[in-house]
Symmetry: C3
Subunit: 425 residues, 3 copies
C-alpha cells in the first residue's frame, strides 16, 4: 500500500501505545522490542535530536577520524586540512560503497576502496577517474551532517532543520567544562561494548542508582545514595549519606574558591534537548574513579593543581553521559544497533601531555568503569529478555528512579511531537 498509508497506520498503532503508557511506570513492551518502534526511534529521536558522537580529543590532527554507527547509518567524524571538524556520511557518491570501515585512524584523503573516487577530508570530491565529460564533481561531494561542539563534545543532528535548543544548553553547560580544557586532552582508551538490550534500557539503567548495591567497584567512590530523595535514603546507606553531605560541603567550598561551576541543573524532560549537569563529590579520597578514590593520572587535566574536585557529570537526552574529574574524563555514547542491541562506546580522556606507563596505567584507569559497564550490560540484558516476555506488565518506578521516569517522559513527548508534525504535513 502507499507509504503514506502505511505510515499513517503505523502512527495510529504508536499513538495507541503512547496512550497506554502510565506515567511513573516502565514503558509498554513494544517500545523495547518492536522493529517498527525501533525504526521510529531512529527517525523521530536519532534523526531529529542532538546526538553525541565523539569528543574533539578523538580527532586532534588533520586527517584524524573516527566512525560512528547507529541503525544503518555510518558517520565519519574527521578533522579537515584546515583543522576544522567535519561530519560526513560514510557513503561514496558513486555507487554507494562504504568508504571507511568502522573504526578510527588517520587519512590523507578519503579514497573509496571500490573505484578510487577520492575526497578531501572536508568531503570535497577531487578525483573520479574516467568520468563522463559533463560530470560535475561539485555535485558529488560527500554528504555533510550538521554538528555542534559543546566544550569539545561533538553533537550531530541528522535533520534538515536541526532544532537550536543546543545553543542555549551549550551556553548553560559550557562554563562547567571550561577548566577541564577538553581540547587539550587525548584518548587514553576507547572501548565498544555491545549490550543485548534496547537503547532506552541502557539509558534508563544509567538514570538511577537504585541498583548500585550491585556495583561494588563503582561504590568505592560513587555515592550510591545518588538519586534518592533526602527522606528516602535506605537505612543501610545512612552512613554513606553522612559522608556524602560532608564531602559535598567541602567540594562546594573549593568550587566557590576556584570559580568552578558546580550547581545542579536538571531539565531532563522540560526542554527539547533535555539535560542534567552537576559537579558532585566522590567518596574515599574523593579524586577519581579508583578503588580508593585516589587519582589515576598524575598529570591533571587543563591547569588543575588540585586532584580532589569530585566529578562533573552531565547527561544529555537521548544518548550521552559523562564524568569529568580533575585527572581524567570519561564520555559514554549510546548507539542503537537493533531493537535488542545497543553499542555503548566509553572513552577515557587524559591530558595531552600525560604519558602512558609514566603518568597513568590504562588497566587501572579503566578498571572501575569496565567492571561497572559489564555489570550494567548484564542488567540491561535481563531487562530486555523480561520485557520481551508476553507476561511483562509495566511496573512502577520507585522514588529514587524519578530520572528514569523523566527520560521516558522526554522520549514519549518527542515521539508525540514527531507524530504531530507528520500529521500536520
Amino acid at each position: 500500500m502507499p507509504a503514506t498509508v502505511v505510515r499513517h497506520q503505523d502512527n495510529l498503532t504508536t499513538r495507541r501505545l503512547i496512550a497506554e503508557r502510565t506515567p511513573g511506570h516502565s514503558l509498554p513492551a513494544p517500545f523495547y522490542t518492536s522493529d517498527e518502534i525501533f525504526d521510529l526511534d531512529l527517525d523521530a529521536i536519532f534523526g531529529r535530536h542532538w546526538i553525541f558522537v565523539a569528543s574533539e580529543a578523538e580527532i586532534r590532527e588533520p586527517g584524524d577520524y573516527v566512525t560512528v554507527e547507529f541503525g544503518k547509518t555510518s558517520l565519519l567524524v574527521i578533522r579537515d586540512d584546515d583543522e576544522n571538524v567535519q561530519v560526513l556520511h560514510n557513503v561514496c557518491r558513486h555507487r554507494g560503497a562504504r568508504i571507511l570501515t568502522p573504526g578510527s585512524g588517520s587519512v590523507g584523503n578519503l579514497v573509496c576502496g571500490y573505484h578510487q573516487w577520492t575526497y578531501k577530508p572536508d568531503g570535497t570530491l577531487i578525483w573520479a577517474a574516467s568520468a563522463a565529460d559533463d560530470f560535475d564533481t561539485s555535485c558529488h561531494n560527500l554528504r555533510k551532517v550538521a554538528f555542534r561542539s559543546i566544550a569539545g563534545l561533538i553533537y550531530v543532528n541528522l535533520s534538515d532543520e536541526p532544532n537550536d535548543d543546543i545553543d542555549e544548553v551549550a551556553s548553560i553547560v559550557e562554563p562547567y567544562f571550561e577548566q577541564h580544557q577538553l581540547k587539550r586532552a587525548k584518548v587514553a582508551k576507547q572501548i565498544d561494548l555491545i549490550e543485548l538490550g534496547n537503547w532506552k534500557l541502557t539509558m534508563e539503567n544509567n538514570r538511577e542508582c537504585y541498583h548500585c548495591d550491585m556495583h561494588p567497584e563503582l561504590g568505592c567512590t560513587y555515592f550510591i545514595t545518588w538519586g534518592y530523595p533526602e527522606d528516602a535514603i535506605p537505612p543501610h546507606l545512612q552512613e554513606t549519606h553522612e559522608r556524602y553531605l560532608s564531602a559535598e560541603a567541602e567540594l562546594e567550598r573549593k568550587c566557590v574558591e576556584r570559580n568552578l561551576a558546580f550547581k545542579g541543573i536538571e531539565e531532563l524532560d522540560t526542554r527539547t534537548m533535555g539535560f542534567r549537569v552537576q559537579r558532585e563529590a566522590l567518596d574515599g579520597e574523593g579524586e577519581s574513579y579508583s578503588m580508593t578514590g585516589a587519582k589515576l593520572v598524575n598529570k591533571l587535566l587543563g591547569d588543575f593543581d588540585d586532584a580532589k574536585l569530585g566529578r562533573l557529570s552531565m547527561h544529555t537526552q537521548p544518548n550521552f553521559w559523562c564524568h569529568f574529574m580533575a585527572d581524567h574524563a570519561i564520555t559514554f555514547a549510546v548507539l542503537p544497533i537493533a531493537p535488542g542491541r545497543t553499542l555503548v562506546r566509553t572513552t577515557w580522556l587524559v591530558h595531552e601531555d600525560a604519558v602512558e606507563g609514566v603518568d597513568y596505567n590504562v588497566d587501572d584507569l579503566t578498571y572501575v568503569w569496565r567492571e561497572t559497564n559489564a555489570q550494567d550490560a548484564a542488567f540491561v540484558e535481563l531487562a530486555q529478555i523480561g520485557v520481551t516476555d508476553p507476561a511483562y506488565i509495566p511496573g512502577p518506578y520507585v522514588p529514587s528512579e524519578y530520572q528514569v521516569d523523566a527520560f521516558c517522559n522526554w522520549y514519549i513527548d518527542k515521539l508525540n511531537t514527531h507524530l504531530d508534525a507528520e500529521a500536520a504535513e
Copy 2:
C-alpha cells in the same frame, strides 16, 4: 492499521490456508514456516491448551525449581514452602527483568538480580526497597499460571479461562500411572535438544513408526510395527509382528494379574485435550529401552517386583509423550522456540532410592533415546528444509501414519475453534 483490522486480515489468510488443507495429507507449508502462523500457534494452541512443562519429580523439595521456555514465555515451576507446586511467570513486577535464568536449581526466595525485589517461592512480593509510601506490595506478586498435576505430570494452561477437559482426561489416565508412583521418583538425567524444525514436525514425527527402520537402537526393544494396521504389516516385519503378538499376550496376562491398566485408549482428535494411552510390550527381554531389552535400573519404580512390564506410553496434544517402564520413566516436552526451532526436553526418571553408579549408569540409561532423539532431529530438519521449498506440495500419509493425520486434525480443529471465538468477540 488498527490491531483488530490486522488480526481480522491475518485470520482471513489463516482461514484460507485451513481451507487448503487436504485431510490425510501433510499441512500446507505456511503452517510450518510462517512467522504469523507461529505466533498464532503460541496464542491459539500454547496459549489455550494444556501444556506439559515438568514432572513433580523435578522439584522434590521446597525451593526446587525448573524454568520452562517456549516462544518468548519463561515459566518458573517451583515447589513452595508449603511443599505445593507453583507455576509463576519468570518476570519481575518492577521493571520486567527476568528473575531466574533458564535452568533448574534450588532457591530460598526469588530475588530479582536487578533491584533485589524479593518474592517467596509462591510468588508473594515480600521486599521492594525504598518504594513509595503508598506502594502496595500485594498488587505486585509474581503472576501465577493455572496448572494441574496428572499423576505427577504438571500441565499448565496460560488462558484466563482454562478448559476443564483435563479433569476427565486425568480421571481416565491416572489409573495407568498409579503403580509407577512418579512422586517417589527423581531425575536421573535431563537433556535439552534443539531440533531445527517446526514443533508440529516434531510431534508428527513422533506419531508414526513408518520411519522406524532408521532407528536401529530403538528397534531392539520397540516393536516397530507400531501404528501399522493389522493387514498392512510390511513383509520384512512379519516376524517382528509374530513376536509382538506373543509378547502382548504375556503382558496382558501380567497386567490383569497385577491390576495394571493396559488397554489402549485413543482420542487424539476427538476431544479438547486429545490423548492416547496404552501399555504395550517391549521386544527382547521386554523390560526396558536397552539394547537387549534388559532393565537399566536395579531399583524398580514404586513397589514393583517384576521388571518385565513393557512400556506405558501416553501422548497428549499438543506437546507431550512419555514412556513408563518398571525400572524407569522418560518424559518428553516439545517447546516451540521459532517457526523452525523447537526444544525437545527429555527427562529420565528413576526411583528416589536408586543410586547412580550402583543401581544405574546414566550413559547406559539414556543411550537408546539419545540416539533416537538425534536421529529424529535429523528427520525433522530434513522435513523443515523441504517444506520450506516453494516446490513442496502436501503429500499423502500412508495408513500407518494415521496418528500423524489425527494430530493435524486436532491442530486444525483447535485453530478453527480459536478463530471462531475471535470472530464472535
Copy 3:
C-alpha cells in the same frame, strides 16, 4: 488481508521504486536491501527467466548429480539411466523432506532418507512402502523443471510456460563454443563462495573493469581496459591498450584461420534472454589465466593444438558468465540466498583426459580467479553495506560502466513486464 490485495499493494510500491530509478545510475536502495523485492526477484527473475545451474561436465555418468540452491529452492541436476540430463525439485512427494543434502555425488536411485520413498534418477517413484491400496505412484513422481543445454551449459526455467528466447540465443552462441567440446570436459575444481551482498551487486560488479586496478592477479592477463570506450582509456592504461590492439589483431587472424567464432555480440538489455558473447585476446603469453599468461593445462580442450586462443567469454542475464580458454574453461553461477547474501559457484573444467598432478595442478589452475573472486566479494560487501545506509543516493555510472547500466535496464524491464502480466491477470 487477501493475498491479491497484498500483492497489489506491494506492486504499487515496486512501481513507485521503479519510477524513482534514474537511467545511468545505480538502483534505489530497496532493490538491494528489501525482503519484498528479494522475493519479487525470485519470482519475476529467477522464477521466469533462464537460469544457469551447471554444465554437463559436472554430471558425466548415469546417477551423477549436483544440487543447486537459490532462495528456498533446491534443484537436483542429474544424469538419468538413459544418460539424459534431468532437473528435478529436491523435495520428496511424501511429506516434503529434502531428498539429497546440498552437494554433488553419484547415486543409484534417489532414496528419501525419512521414509525411504525411492525414485529413479529421472524422478519416477518406484517404491513407497505400505502405501494405501489405492495409492497411485504415478501421481507422486518428483517434480520436473524445464531445462535446455547450450553447448553443454545447462539452463533451467521454473516457469510453467518458459519463454523460448533461449532457442535463438543458443543458435547464436553455440558456434562459439563448438570447438571447446564441453561435453568431453570434466570438473577439475568447484568452489562455492558466499558474498555478503545482493545478487545484483555481484552481477553489476562483473559487468565493469572500472575497478580492475584492484585485481593485480587478474590484470596479468586480462586487459583491464575492457569496457572502456575507445576515447576514454585512462592515461595509465594507454600502454596496455596498445598491447591489447596488437593482441586482438593476432587473435582475429587465428580465429579466421581456424574457423573460430570471435566477433562480439552484445544484446544485454535488448531481448528477453540478454547476453553478450565475444572471444578476446589475453595479455602476456595470451594463453590462460596464469600469472604469465602461459597455459595451465597441458592437455588442451577438445582437439585444440594451439593454446593461444585468448578467452571466449559469455554473459547471460541474470546469473551467468564464463571464460573458455584453449586449455580450460571456467563457469560462474550467481545464486541469491537472501537480500544481502549471494552464492557464487565457480567451476574449473579441463579435458576429460587431463590428469591432475600430471597435466595440471589444481592450486595453480584456480589461483587467479580465487584471488579475483575474493577481491570482488570484498567490493560487493562494501557496496551492500553502503547502499543499506539511509544516506545512500544512487550515483552515476561512468562510461566504462555502460554494461552495468545495461544489466539494470534489463532487470527493471523484466520487473515491469512481470508486473504488467500480473496486473492483466
